[in-house]
């Protein structure tokens, strides 16, 4: 029998401390964990018999991490069968994650769509806690009002910084904003666009169009960061599935500066 703890493929058990239900298909599992971890990093969550799925960290505490999981496949369906007090097998964290200190000074815009909010939740929290939160702009988009995640956070962020919350579509009578996130990019007032920073996370087309609009607005490529989603079987630079050119998304990403990621061709 080998030394278990030194084998990075062997998962460790972690207790489900709390389950926060956002929508029918999206829950946050608050998992016991102590150790260094950053927003935008990910864990491999396993359910024996069903396999593993990479899940990004959506919240970080002294002795826990939040994993916001969308029920879309074999593994995640099984995860949703587990209640508070049960355990999940985890390994990680993997990937580079966001360096929140990069965004604390000056003007920043964060654009996040759907489950793309999870990896930047910690970044937005950091922005909300800075001394000039009015220079921090956040556009969050969901498919519909019933798809909204992190409702309590959205309220908090709305008070702390400049939040634009929108939905792609809504039933009649909905009072909030409607439209894709890109519709609201022109509304954000940036004083010094040459030095402003942007973070964009969401489905690939949403990221593509948002970055295009930011560049048109005058943002510099090297001031834009994105997070890539890829198939990740190992998280260890071995299985190959996440590779794009010379880059391993699991090792070198998933967070990339746009000046690099624009040259990464699938």
């Amino acid at each position: 029998m080998g030394n278990m703890s030194s084998n990075p493929y062997v998962p460790f058990p972690s207790k489900i401390r709390e389950i926060i239900r956002h929508t029918e298909k999206e829950y946050t599992f608050r998992m016991s964990f102590t150790g260094d971890v950053k927003p935008g990093q990910f864990f491999e969550v396993s359910v024996p018999r069903y396999g593993e799925a990479p899940i990004s960290v959506s919240g970080i505490g002294e002795d826990f991490v939040d994993l916001t999981i969308r029920k879309v496949g074999r593994v995640t369906n099984e995860v949703f069968e587990k209640g508070e007090g049960r355990t999940l097998l985890l390994r990680g964290p993997y990937g580079n994650g966001f360096d929140t200190s990069l965004y604390e000074d000056g003007e920043v815009i964060v654009i996040a769509g759907g489950t793309g909010v999870s990896p930047v939740r910690g970044v937005i929290d950091a922005l909300a806690g800075t001394s000039a939160p009015k220079d921090k702009h956040v556009i969050v988009g969901f498919r519909s009002p019933s798809d909204m995640l992190f409702r309590d956070d959205l309220k908090r962020w709305d008070e702390a910084l400049d939040l634009i919350l929108t939905v792609d579509g809504a039933p009649e009578g909905y009072e909030g904003r409607i439209g894709l996130v890109t519709k609201y990019i022109p509304e954000v007032e940036i004083k010094d666009v040459a030095n402003a920073k942007a973070v964009v996370v969401g489905p690939p087309p949403m990221m593509r169009f948002s970055v295009k609009d930011l560049l048109a607005k005058g943002f510099r490529e090297e001031n834009i960061w994105i997070s890539q989603e890829r198939k990740m079987c190992c998280g260890l630079g071995k299985c190959g599935h996440c590779r794009i050119g010379e880059t391993y998304v699991c090792l070198d990403g998933p967070v990339f500066n746009y000046s690099e990621s624009k040259n990464m061709l699938d």
């Binding site: 058990p13 630079g237 299985c239 699938d266």
Partner: protein, 339 residues
């Protein structure tokens, strides 16, 4: 030290060195090829000299011992995870120069690239090599273009079969004593190697973004049937997918495996929820080929492909990967000329 041995004395040497080691070598499997009545040369454990195929090139690479097609990583029980045991004996792998160079590629992925893979390392530490000399170049080989035609060290002994006799250049002192005790004669021996192949490729330098988008790839969307055979025979392909297997219906006891994966085959990039990248076979061909001759080099400093030509031998659609390399190089050079 150079020794000349008869076939029987080589077998006696194998028996002696095989007492504490396993010997893994190319074997001609009669009638087990792709079509009935066609032979295939693949790796297996051997104990006697005649079993080792020293004349033909192996259709499959040696890599299965280091990166098995299906490998148990650990077992699950009700509330425990246990690592799988392994055979602790040393292994001697008989391979040609190109394949010995391929080991360096496997090492780069599995021993470097940020994390050490413990499953690879534990077997890699037990592996030693015996070099098979190349008296001639085989069909589809382009090792000379790739600079892998000659092995400079890294093996215990070399073997060349010439006129029914076996010629060994033994680098290891312990083994030299065993060979000496069986040798017909002692003389200077140098492993044979080729200095020219019929197939030649020119590896492009920096491949610009324009070549990623070049229409040259579209031909393979039509011709390639994305069967993945080219990946499975390649000594430097290393991709895998995780798979959980359960022994009982209640799912309480089972194992996690990793199984070989191919970047040409559907599903390689699929993410939960439906995302998929590189849908066409042309894009997949571009991904594979540029990894072998460009992207890997940018990360590790040397090319991944060793020019063994096995992918060309196995392709059911007669796609020539060597031709693709030359087309890419033409596109890169053409691009440079046209600005």
């Amino acid at each position: 030290m150079g020794y000349v041995l008869s076939r029987d004395s080589f077998t006696r040497v194998l028996k002696k060195i095989g007492q504490s080691r396993r010997i893994y070598a190319p074997v001609n499997k009669v009638g087990e090829g792709r079509f009935t009545d066609v032979d295939v040369v693949r790796y297996d454990f051997v104990t006697e000299a005649p079993e080792i195929e020293l004349d033909k090139k192996s259709d499959y690479a040696f890599k299965e011992i280091l990166t098995p097609l299906s490998q148990t990583l650990f077992f699950f029980t009700e509330d425990e995870v246990k690592e799988a045991d392994m055979d602790e004996r040393e292994v001697i792998i008989f391979l040609r120069s190109c394949d010995l160079h391929a080991v360096k590629r496997l090492d780069a992925i599995y021993l470097e690239n940020k994390f050490v893979d413990p499953f690879y390392k534990r077997i890699r530490d037990k592996v030693r090599f015996a070099l098979i000399g190349c008296g001639r170049s085989y069909e589809d080989c382009f090792c000379v273009s790739m600079g892998t035609n000659r092995a400079d060290g890294g093996y215990l002994f070399s073997v060349d079969m010439i006129g029914g006799k076996y010629y060994f250049d033994v680098k290891d002192d312990e083994l030299a004593a065993i060979f000496a005790s069986e040798a017909e004669s002692e003389q200077a021996v140098e492993a044979r190697y080729v200095t020219e192949n019929e197939v030649k490729v020119t590896i492009p330098g920096n491949v610009p973004v324009s070549v990623y988008k070049d229409p040259l790839w579209e031909e393979y969307t039509v011709r390639c049937i994305n069967c993945g055979r080219c990946n499975f025979v390649c000594p430097t392909c290393t991709c895998f997918t995780m798979q959980d297997i359960f022994y009982t219906d209640n799912g309480r006891v089972g194992e996690r495996r990793r199984v070989g994966a191919s970047c040409m085959v559907d599903g390689y990039t699929n993410v939960a929820g439906g995302g998929q990248y590189r849908r066409t076979n042309g894009e997949r061909m571009r991904f594979k080929v540029l990894h072998k001759i460009h992207d890997f080099r940018k990360r590790f400093g040397f090319d991944m492909c060793v020019g063994c030509g096995r992918c060309d031998m196995v392709c059911p659609e007669y796609i020539s990967y060597a031709n693709i390399i030359n087309k890419v190089n033409d596109a890169v050079e053409g691009g440079a000329v046209n600005g």
